[in-house]
């Protein structure tokens, strides 16, 4: 329990990190540092995207699996770490 807290705190305190969220398989935000509406939006959209990405990877090679998803946009970078049941989403502003 304390480790979880510590991990999330450490991630949030890294340079450039704007927000962190943990979302479960149903899209319910378990833990988030951003406001609710944004979190809900991110959760819903990224969940679908992760599913799609995972199925793509597995279609190409069934032995393979998705470990990480990074979306770089003009304003920031969205990083998604998928698990069987949960999704860890971090939004970072890469230093340039």
């Amino acid at each position: 329990m304390a480790e979880v807290e510590e991990t999330l705190k450490r991630i949030q305190n890294h340079k450039g990190v704007i927000g962190t969220m943990v979302v479960n398989a149903e899209g319910i935000p378990i833990r988030t540092t951003l406001d609710n509406s944004t979190t809900v939006q991110y959760a819903g959209l990224l969940h679908q995207l992760t599913m799609k990405a995972r199925s793509t990877v597995r279609d190409i090679d069934p032995q393979n699996d998705l470990t990480f998803l990074r979306i770089r946009s003009k304003k920031h970078e969205i990083m998604v770490a998928p698990d069987k049941e949960y999704l860890l989403i971090v939004i970072q502003n890469p230093c340039e």
Binding site: E26, I28, I30, S37, F68, L88
Partner: protein, 601 residues
């Protein structure tokens, strides 16, 4: 000749069932070819006839009805919560969350994911993978693609009675909006019931204008205030100046009084750079240029009459069609007139007569567009009659560069704000030409029919087309500024030399008419060696020709009178020979002189 086959049937046999039998073929008619008929025709060689035996097809186009689209947003609602948890209840959601956090899976998962995530975050922070290594090289873009432009959107006048789009003005910041003035410029041919409205379009929505501006008389020209993007200035068909504030609505906010306005449609209005941001000036074909302050539109602050003879006579004034003002030269402005003359004026001159500084004439018809080059304000572009001309302020006699005479009347022109060597012109037949005189000087770089990258073009039918010009024409080329300035300088120098030559010649002519002939001739002989020789030759031949003619005339006369007397003929011949000798001597002398001149040189 008719081919007829006759058969006979009894009436009682009508309606009887037919009994068909075969029989041998019978020759009814045999028409052999008649070679005489062939004489009436000429053989055609080669013959161009299609002999394919396929189905004939035709091509048709059909346009579907335009769908009106609206943009709307949808808000996500939280879902996915299990049935027993009410998402609105804070307690329940917190409880649920706490439960999940206690789950062992959760703890393990997060720890794992956290590790991976940290790795990536640190990676991001360590190196910027999209760093530009070769910044300098990027600006060198060799455009191998041919210049092109693409129509992005077409804005049609939503009124049923179509009017022409007479003026366009971009919104000062961001160019997301476009103000278009609609009016009918044919004298008194505006159909009754024609709406006076002008519109502001949003570029994203071509179906419906964003705001409509309602004046009392159709607006011919419309300009956004560069300082305050909510304020617009319009010049009306009846000579009044109107001002709108888009925050206040579509009715006119301020209107100038009729007594003090122009007497003719206002063709040009421009905002001035002033501290208050409320000053503007307008020009019209009644020959006056008036300055206004928006806050007090009942009376113009200043009036200047466009009279080149500087007598302040309204009758002599030239009607102004286009107006130009450059913010970097705040006291000077230029007016293009209906008579083809461009007048450059100084606003700050003490006496009214000195307001008009100089004139540039060169167009045969009204100067429809006048604009300074945004990079080199000394050079400006004028468009009128069938050509577009580029002028330099230094050379007053003629333009430094001009396009060839086109087939159609040129209606408008503008410089590109990004590239100093590119300008656009539009023609009466509907083509938009883009000229790039660094690339090619005699033809437009691109012709098209029907901010930096966007060009909006208005047409007579009231449609406005938004084009995106290819990047080759809107990114600054390497060295372009230098090349453009050197072109301008070169042409200006050429004009200056020509001007100087003209002045010399005019002085000479003046001198002749004043009676200082000999002096000048002596000067001439000293000046040009070749000219001298040429002249002498010409004189020689002229005299010979005239003598020959005289001889012929005399011979004719003599043959008519039939009085053969050799003496006058001989004399004439002798005279002629002597004169020829003289001339030859003179020529030799001239050559000797020339020769002696050369040797000391």
């Amino acid at each position: 000749m008719e081919i007829v086959y006759v058969y006979v049937k009894k009436r009682s046999e009508f309606g009887k069932q037919c009994n068909f039998t075969d029989r041998q073929a019978e020759l009814n008619i045999d028409i052999p070819p008649n070679p005489e008929l062939a004489e009436l025709y000429v053989e055609r060689n080669p013959v161009d006839t299609g002999i394919q035996c396929s189905t004939s097809m035709s091509e048709h186009e059909a346009n579907t009805e335009r769908i009106e689209m609206e943009t709307r947003g949808v808000n996500h609602v939280e879902g996915g919560w299990p049935k027993d948890v009410n998402p609105l209840e804070l307690e329940q959601t917190i409880r649920f969350r706490k439960k999940v956090e206690k789950d062992e899976n959760y703890i393990n998962a997060i720890t794992q994911l956290g590790l991976i995530m940290e790795h990536c975050i640190k990676q991001n922070n360590a190196i910027d993978i999209y760093q530009e290594y070769f910044d300098d090289e990027d600006s060198v873009e060799v455009t191998e693609e041919a210049p092109s432009a693409k129509t992005i959107n077409v804005f049609r006048d939503p009124q049923e009675i179509k009017r022409s789009a007479t003026h366009l003005s971009w919104h000062p910041d961001g160019s997301k909006k476009l103000a278009v003035a609609y009016s009918c410029l044919n004298f008194q041919r505006a159909p009754p019931g024609m709406s006076h409205d002008s519109y502001i379009w949003d570029l994203e929505n071509p179906n419906r204008p964003e705001i409509a501006l309602k004046p009392s008389s159709p607006v011919i020209t419309l300009e956004y205030n560069p300082k305050d993007s909510h304020v617009l200035l319009g010049g009306c068909y009846n000579g009044q100046i109107a001002c709108w504030d888009t925050r206040k609505g579509s009715m006119v906010a301020e209107l100038s009084t009729i007594e003090f306005s122009h007497r003719d449609p206002v063709y040009g209005t421009i905002w001035l750079q002033s501290k208050t941001g409320t000053e503007c000036f307008s020009a019209s074909t009644d020959g006056q240029v008036m300055w206004w302050d928006i806050r007090k539109l009942s009376e113009p602050t200043e009036v200047v009459i466009m009279d080149i003879t500087k007598k302040e006579q309204l009758d002599n004034a030239l009607g102004a069609i286009s107006l130009e003002f450059e913010a970097t030269l705040p006291t000077k402005f230029m007016v293009g007139t209906e008579q083809g003359v461009v007048i450059s004026c100084n606003r700050k001159a003490k006496t009214s007569a000195e307001k008009i500084v100089c004139t540039f004439s060169g167009h045969h018809g009204p100067v429809y567009a006048l604009q300074r080059n945004p990079f080199y304000p000394k050079n400006f572009l004028t468009v009128g009659d069938w050509t577009a001309r580029i002028w330099s302020e230094d050379s007053r006699e003629s333009s430094i560069m001009w396009t060839k005479y086109h087939m159609a009347y040129l209606t408008d022109g503008a410089w590109s704000p990004v590239r100093p060597a590119v300008f656009f012109t539009t023609k009466m037949d509907g083509t938009l030409d883009i000229w790039d005189f660094v690339f090619k000087q005699c033809d437009p770089a691109l012709s098209l029919k029907d901010n930096g990258c966007f060009v909006a073009c208005g047409s007579q039918l009231g449609t406005t087309t938004l084009l995106e010009v290819s990047s080759g024409l809107c990114t600054l080329q390497r060295n372009e500024k230098n090349i453009a300035s050197s072109i301008f300088e070169r042409e200006t120098r050429r004009e200056k030399i020509l001007e100087a030559r003209h002045r010399e010649m005019r002085l000479k002519e003046k001198g002749k008419s004043d009676g200082k002939e000999e002096e000048l001739r002596e000067e001439e002989t000293a000046v040009d060696l070749e000219e001298l020789v040429g002249k002498a030759e010409e004189e020689f031949f002229d005299i010979i020709l005239s003598e020959l003619k005289k001889k012929e005339a005399e011979a004719l006369r003599k043959s008519k009178l039939q009085q053969p007397s050799l003496k006058p003929e001989d004399e004439a011949e002798g005279e002629e020979e002597m004169e020829a000798d003289d001339l030859v001597e003179r020529e030799d002398q001239a050559e000797e002189e020339g020769g002696s001149e050369e040797t000391p040189a």
